[in-house]
């Protein structure tokens, strides 16, 4: 008890400090927010708010340049861009949708668009897009943006997926260079991996970009393997169930083969970073167009870009990428369209695709692109898209569930769990979601 009697003598000091603190804190909390709140300008220019996923540095820079150019050339419209972290982008968009605070313009990764379209968050763009403009876009872009017979989005670029290869390692292992018409076959590929393992300097022959684990990459990058084995993520004739397809014999065979890649030491299941290929520890890198800039910077002329393998039922690769739409809560859709139209103009598409190495969405831009011209390094990606080897991810509002279920199954499969059991669990989750939402009826 003595502790109380000791401190009473300092009462005067305390008397002075605490009230002051109290008053200060009131001031800060009441006035603080108004000091720092940026009131949105209600003067002449109309503000269009925009969310975009903040991923690759070069992409961010290109988009910022595009928006700056727009602001400069359109004095009556001001674009306010908010960049959201890519990792939690969908979470934040969901929260925004829930609190009715979605912006006017928004970008989404590939097939996540359908859920928003089905939920009524987007307006169709049909009335804005002229038939001339339509003709210039890649068919895959239009297919990606179309849901329930309406066009809901446009993208500046489509994606390319294939092998990046270290030419020198391949030469040392005497590996055949594949072409679009003659890709690597399954047994040949297994043999190649075994040979590459013995090349000096190679720690793991195949870098599958396993870091960070999970996420959309696992679905985008690895479902082509499943499809090449003859399996799929969902029954595409009705989009009502994944039973027998995702856990069917082909899919199981595909993911068993995939699991063995790690068991046999051909790939590192849990690398600490994504630098295996660029630091020269891997001979092959299965990755998308976004890796081109980094890989080229690391390997220079030693870099080769090769087509997807044929694991049984034809070579399959991925497609689809980030695309833009206008929200139904937008109060100024016409102005928002002006922004979107500007973003989709050939010059701005060229600016973006030069920065991130993606396949330009407009044929006019492809023709002028250095990377994608017939003798350009990434021409193989364009060929894969035009040649029908690219398989779109499932076009259904159930996609978010499909991708999270598949991705999680792959994470567990890589950790060594039973392939059939994991796929059964994934199917159960997908089918449950379809059931909960009554099959995502499109009504009208």
């Amino acid at each position: 008890m003595s502790r109380f009697y000791r401190t009473v003598s300092n009462k005067r000091q305390r008397e002075r400090i605490l009230p002051l603190l109290f008053v200060l804190s009131i001031i800060v909390s009441a006035c603080g927010p108004t000091w720092f709140t940026t009131t949105s300008s209600t003067s002449r220019p109309i503000t269009v708010e925009l969310f975009f996923h903040s991923g690759q540095g070069a992409e961010r820079a290109a988009l910022n340049a595009t928006l700056q150019a727009f602001n400069d050339s359109h004095p009556n419209i001001r674009v306010e861009a908010v960049q959201l972290p890519e990792g939690s982008y969908i979470d934040q968009v969901n929260v925004a949708a829930m609190s009715h605070s979605l912006p006017c313009l928004l970008d989404f990764d590939g097939p996540t668009l359908y859920n928003y379209a089905w939920s009524g968050y987007l307006i169709p763009l049909d009335k804005y897009v002229s038939s001339q403009m339509r003709a210039d876009f890649l068919p895959s872009i239009l297919q990606q943006g179309t849901y329930n017979h309406h066009l809901y989005s446009l993208g500046q670029y489509d994606s390319g997926l294939g092998f990046y290869a270290n030419k020198q390692y391949l030469r040392e292992a005497r590996v055949r260079i594949p072409t679009i018409n003659s890709p690597w076959m399954l047994s040949e590929f297994n043999d190649i991996l075994a040979r590459l393992k013995h090349v000096a300097g190679v720690q793991y022959p195949l870098d599958l970009n396993m870091y960070p684990p999970g996420g959309e990459w696992f679905t985008y990058g690895f479902s082509p393997f499943v499809e090449s084995f003859g399996g799929d993520l969902i029954n595409r004739s009705t989009y009502q169930s994944a039973m027998g397809v995702l856990n069917g014999p082909n899919a199981v065979a595909a993911l068993t083969w995939f699991q063995n890649l790690f068991k046999q030491g051909y790939s590192n299941p849990w690398p600490a970073s994504d630098t295996g290929f660029t630091f020269g520890h891997a001979a092959l890198n299965w990755g998308g167009h976004w890796l081109y800039a980094g890989n080229y910077q690391a390997l220079g002329d030693n870099l080769l870009v090769l087509p997807a393998p044929n694991l049984g039922k034809g070579a399959k690769t991925g497609m689809g990428s980030w695309n833009w739409g206008i929200t139904s809560s937008c109060k100024t859709p016409d102005e928002a369209w002006q922004v979107l139209n500007f973003i989709m103009s050939p010059s701005e598409i060229a600016r973006m695709t030069n920065a991130n190495g993606a396949v330009p969405a407009r044929k006019s831009v492809i023709a002028r692109s250095q990377l994608y011209a017939p003798n350009g390094p990434l021409h193989v990606f364009a060929l894969q898209l035009l040649g029908g080897m690219a398989e779109p991810r499932p076009i259904t509002p159930a996609y978010p569930t499909i991708t999270s279920a598949f991705s999680e199954a792959v994470v567990n499969i890589v950790a060594g769990f039973n392939v059939k059991k994991e796929l059964d669990k994934a199917v159960q989750k997908i089918d449950q979601d379809l059931q909960d939402n009554q099959g995502y009826p499109t009504g009208q």
């Binding site: 979470d91 849990w270 690398p271 950790a415």
Partner: protein
């Protein structure tokens, strides 16, 4: 001790006065009002909302299908949910191991640091430093340390065991992932409880020890019969704090393992957040929240009894 005497004679007078004083009553409500209002608006009402959500199939962002009342459907689904069962198991396992280990280790460190030798303050600061580092930062650094092929921990184990131990896949191994997280949680938290024990130790009157030594008690007897009983309240507090920490486990799972591998590290709070924000099943997540609240509440009833006892002591 004249002050003590005064207390006793005034007690009756005090009781008489406070019982009849209306003004006091109004004032006491005024004192309590800010906190009560805030708690009502920002904790109680949302929780009630959550309960009401649990009886519907509320999605995070409403769509064309209307949110409808589904009664106890979420709760029945909950009972059959394997993931939730695993999460409860994980939380319980975490609590059963971490609470005694962290408490015991904190006590041990406090006893160790309660010596008057040179430089003891430096060690005290060092042992406390993990506590001031934000948990998210620690989770990121440790996930690097636990990396199977490029992690310091595996490298260390292999070196000291000449290659016999490991390499272990830690966060990707179903049996090692949760222990790995428990280890780093103890590492981060024990410093704080050590300080609390230290304070407790320093509050034990030296006279008790002197009397014991005079009576011929040895070191261990002093520890057992004086130190530990005197630290009973402190121990109680530390155990409550570590138990609450065990049940609220979220950050480490979110940053390091996302519940994997195969739900080995899924905790109830993490599962709840994942279901509502990522899978949009707000209705179901709310049901999980309600059930979890009830489960933890049952464990908290001893605290209630303790508080009520303290109440009686005060009156």
């Amino acid at each position: 001790m004249t002050l003590q005497l005064r207390a006793r004679t005034n007690t009756k007078a005090t009781l008489k006065r406070s019982r009849g004083n209306r003004k006091e009553q109004y004032l006491s409500w005024a004192f309590a009002l800010p906190a009560l209002t805030l708690l009502l608006i920002f904790l109680i009402i949302p929780f009630v909302l959550a309960i009401s959500f649990s009886l519907t199939n509320q999605r995070l962002a409403p769509g064309p299908l209307p949110t409808s009342f589904v009664g106890l459907l979420n709760y029945t689904r909950l009972l059959a949910d394997d993931t939730l069962r695993r999460a409860l198991l994980n939380n319980s396992f975490f609590g059963i191991v971490v609470v005694p280990v962290e408490t015991g280790l904190a006590l041990f460190l406090a006893l160790l640091l309660n010596q008057k030798i040179r430089g003891i303050a430096v060690f005290r600061t060092i042992y406390f430093s993990p506590v001031v580092t934000p948990l998210a930062v620690i989770a990121v650094v440790w996930s690097f340390l636990y990396n199977p092929s490029q992690g310091l921990i595996n490298a260390f184990l292999q070196t000291i065991s000449f290659g016999h131990l490991g390499p272990y896949t830690w966060l990707n191994d179903a049996t090692l992932a949760l222990p790995a997280i428990m280890f780093l949680s103890i590492w981060q938290g024990v410093g704080l409880y050590m300080i609390i024990y230290l304070a407790g130790l320093q509050n034990i009157p030296e006279s008790l020890y002197e009397a014991a030594r005079v009576d011929g008690a040895g070191r261990w007897q002093q520890l057992w019969h004086i130190t530990l009983p005197q630290l009973r309240n402190t121990t109680f507090f530390v155990m409550i704090a570590t138990t609450v920490q065990a049940f609220k486990l979220y950050t480490q799972v979110e940053v390091m393992t996302q519940g994997g591998p195969n739900n080995a590290t899924t905790t109830v709070v993490w599962y709840m957040v994942n279901q509502s924000i990522r899978h949009l099943h707000v209705g179901y997540a709310s049901a999980v929240a309600v059930v979890f609240f009830l489960i933890v509440l049952i464990r908290v009833i001893p605290i209630l009894r303790y508080v009520v006892k303290a109440e009686k002591r005060e009156v």
